[in-house]
């Protein structure tokens, strides 16, 4: 290595063309540095904008912003709180993740290691295609197809597993609920999780897989011992991408949910509201204080997303340090 290095260095140092060849370096460095600074500045600018526009409405609020469920920012006195929105957002997003990540990783694993190479490519192509479908289409499909047909399953869950609060339904109505929204979100983020995971899993070191097989592991054991641990940071990133999409999903959730402002653990009953859906539903008719309140809720969503991504980053980095892979 060092021999070639000194050779290259000598050549560069000796030739008169070296001066011309080097001006590209500082420019490229400046451009990339500029892009990095630009991105960070934009993020801070967005956070600052949200804070500035939200403060007047927060100052006017007669209710507790974090624990109240009512949303009446344009009345006098204005009362608004995000408890119901926080609940709805977190429940739909986490349920969606819970349903999408196992299936997505399974699809990725199949496409990368179990299927024949040709079938794997076709499957990957199809899943990527699904990721490109606009989310409003999923919302319309959820509203028109899934919702009328899911009643039977939800009724069965209520009848047989009704002692668990989340499956209990006291109203007898099984449409327009948080659970249906979560299922639609899960289907929406499945292609994202699956395609990113597949990209990562396909790079798992063949040598280690073959070594595991050679010492007598079954195919599943070799996946479990080599491929999945290798792909864990990538899978977590894929899950975070999916979570970001689920947290921010607006119109699909807005047309499905019943937009009731209450914290209701019976998630198969109609109701529920999320930050993004609330902004979409109330924005057009909001007064000045109403707009400020909506922006305040947007700020909370922004902070939640930042926090979740920070935690994910920490988990990935800790894993990297533990395993010693750079």
């Amino acid at each position: 290595m060092t021999a070639t290095d000194t050779l290259v260095h000598d050549e560069l140092g000796a030739a008169p063309a070296s001066r011309k060849a080097r001006w590209g370096d500082p420019i490229f460095k400046a451009v990339t540095l500029g892009a990095g600074i630009f991105t960070v500045t934009i993020m801070f600018a967005i956070g600052l904008f949200l804070l500035i526009r939200a403060l007047p409405a927060l100052a006017n609020n007669s209710g507790n912003f974090l624990t109240s469920s009512t949303w009446l920012p344009d009345q006098s006195p204005p009362v608004f709180g995000i408890a119901a929105l926080l609940f709805g957002t977190l429940v739909t997003a986490s349920l969606a993740l819970l349903m999408a990540v196992p299936v997505g990783v399974a699809v990725a694993l199949y496409a990368s290691h179990y299927a024949t190479p040709r079938l794997g490519k076709v499957l990957a192509f199809l899943v990527d295609l699904l990721a490109a479908v606009p989310s409003i289409i999923f919302g319309l499909w959820g509203l028109a197809v899934l919702m009328p047909n899911m009643g039977g399953l939800l009724k069965w869950l209520n009848d047989h597993l009704g002692f668990i609060p989340i499956f209990q339904n006291t109203t007898g109505i099984y449409t327009k609920s948080v659970l249906i929204a979560a299922v639609v979100l899960a289907i929406m983020i499945l292609p994202t999780v699956s395609s990113v995971s597949r990209e990562v899993l396909v790079q798992a070191p063949d040598l280690q897989i073959e070594a595991a097989l050679a010492v007598g592991a079954t195919k599943w054991e070799s996946m479990r011992m080599v491929v999945l641990p290798f792909g864990r940071p990538g899978i977590i990133s894929a899950a975070m991408l999916g979570l970001g999409r689920a947290l921010g999903e607006t119109i699909a959730v807005a047309i499905i949910l019943s937009a009731l402002f209450e914290v209701n653990w019976h998630i198969s009953e109609p109701g529920g509201n999320t930050f993004a859906a609330n902004i979409a539903l109330k924005w057009n008719e909001a007064g000045t204080n109403g707009l400020g309140a909506l922006i305040a809720s947007g700020l909370v969503l922004f902070l939640i997303t930042l926090a979740v991504n920070l935690v994910a980053r920490m988990v990935i980095n800790r894993r990297r340090v533990k395993e010693g892979t750079a």
């Binding site: 344009d74 007898g172 019943s258 937009a259």
Partner: protein
């Protein structure tokens, strides 16, 4: 190599040409009243933008089509992004008039007046609507409801169709023993505001909530937009919800008769027009804000109505917008245009109010 290089350059050139041709220059030509008029429309030319209420969208679209067909050289663009957004656009000077489900509120007036300086902003009622109680119940031939019963249905106090309260106002009608699937609006809307104003005026003990654009009561299911509620009603058995007349007519849903004390009144354009024509004007001068009397008790007056206003400047619109705005609003206030509203499922402005509307539009400079 050379052929691919030329192919690349040709492709880049074609893409650039296509991109540049997509940038169309919008010319804001000065509008001059042309001597020719088709039918009885006094045409003007130019291009104006408007935005606001979704409730009047169908009516405005129909009128714009008719006007533009009769008057070449005129372009009117209406964007139905909601009353609140419409007033904001108007106050920012981006539109020539705003469509709003309610007259300018005190908090919005300074901004709108500033936009119109040296004149002031005026509300001109132009499109009326009826809020119907549409229902989908198999085998139910006709339904009459009174304000207390409506209030209790919509705040979940009455939960079954064969509740004694409903049976009491519907003698001789067999009501099914089924739960009521009640639908309201999940988004903010002027329709909800007018419906809640009606309930608060006529049944305050059963409807103890403040009026506003957001649905205040617990229970039921929310759907987005008039179209969302209509779709939910058509898809769900034993359902009831409040939607505009045009939507109920298009979806062929049955609507309930409302009894305000003088007998059951059917939800039709004519009956709603009576209520609007009887509304006193609370605005001053050419500002025609109406105060609808929801307690109106007459055998031919349907009480649950709403009025959409066009908010514009009586003086102070830029010259190139004023002529076309005045010409278009003169057309919409004309008897011919108002009569087309009935076919669309809206309610025409009639009587004394219409005379004042025409005078207000004529006063625009």
């Amino acid at each position: 190599m050379r052929s691919t290089r030329t192919a690349q350059i040709a492709a880049l050139g074609a893409a650039t040409v296509l991109a540049l041709s997509a940038c169309s220059s919008s010319s804001n030509t000065a509008s001059t009243p042309s001597g020719s008029s088709s039918g009885s429309i006094n045409c003007a030319t130019g291009s104006i933008k408007a935005s606001g209420s979704t409730a009047q969208k169908n009516a405005i679209t129909e009128w714009i089509n008719a006007y533009q067909q009769a008057c070449t050289g005129a372009t009117i663009d209406y964007q139905a992004n909601g009353s609140g957004a419409g007033i904001t656009d108007f106050s920012n000077g981006q539109t020539s008039f705003a469509g709003s489900d309610s007259a300018l509120k005190a908090e919005n007036r300074p901004g709108a007046d500033a936009r119109c300086s040296p004149g002031a902003a005026i509300d001109i009622p132009m499109v009326g609507g009826a809020i119907t109680l549409a229902y989908k119940v198999d085998g139910l031939s006709g339904l009459t409801l009174t304000p207390p019963v409506i209030a209790k249905i919509f705040n979940n106090k009455i939960t079954k169709w064969n509740d004694p309260a409903i049976a009491a106002v519907n003698p001789g009608v067999t009501l099914p023993d089924q739960p009521i699937a009640q639908f309201h609006r999940s988004d903010s809307s002027g329709t909800t505001e007018n419906f809640s104003k009606y309930l608060k005026a006529t049944a305050p003990t059963d409807w103890p909530y403040e009026t506003g654009k957001d649905w205040p009561a617990p229970g039921g299911q929310g759907s987005k937009g008039n179209d969302g509620v209509t779709a939910s009603l058509t898809a769900t058995a034993n359902s009831i919800g409040y939607i505009e007349l045009s939507f109920a007519q298009d979806a062929k849903l049955a609507t309930a008769k409302v009894d305000n004390g003088a007998g059951a009144v059917e939800a039709t354009s004519q009956n709603a027009a009576v209520t609007i024509a009887a509304a006193p004007i609370t605005g001053t001068g050419n500002d025609l804000a109406l105060k609808i009397d929801y307690k109106i008790s007459a055998p031919n007056a349907y009480p649950i109505v709403l009025v959409t206003y066009e908010i514009t400047c009586n003086k102070g619109l830029p010259a190139d917008q004023a002529t076309l705005t005045k010409s278009f609003l003169t057309y919409t206030a004309s008897d011919a245009a108002q009569s087309t509203l009935v076919d669309l499922g809206y309610v025409p402005i009639t009587g004394v109010v219409l005379t004042k509307v025409k005078a207000a539009v004529a006063s625009i400079l």
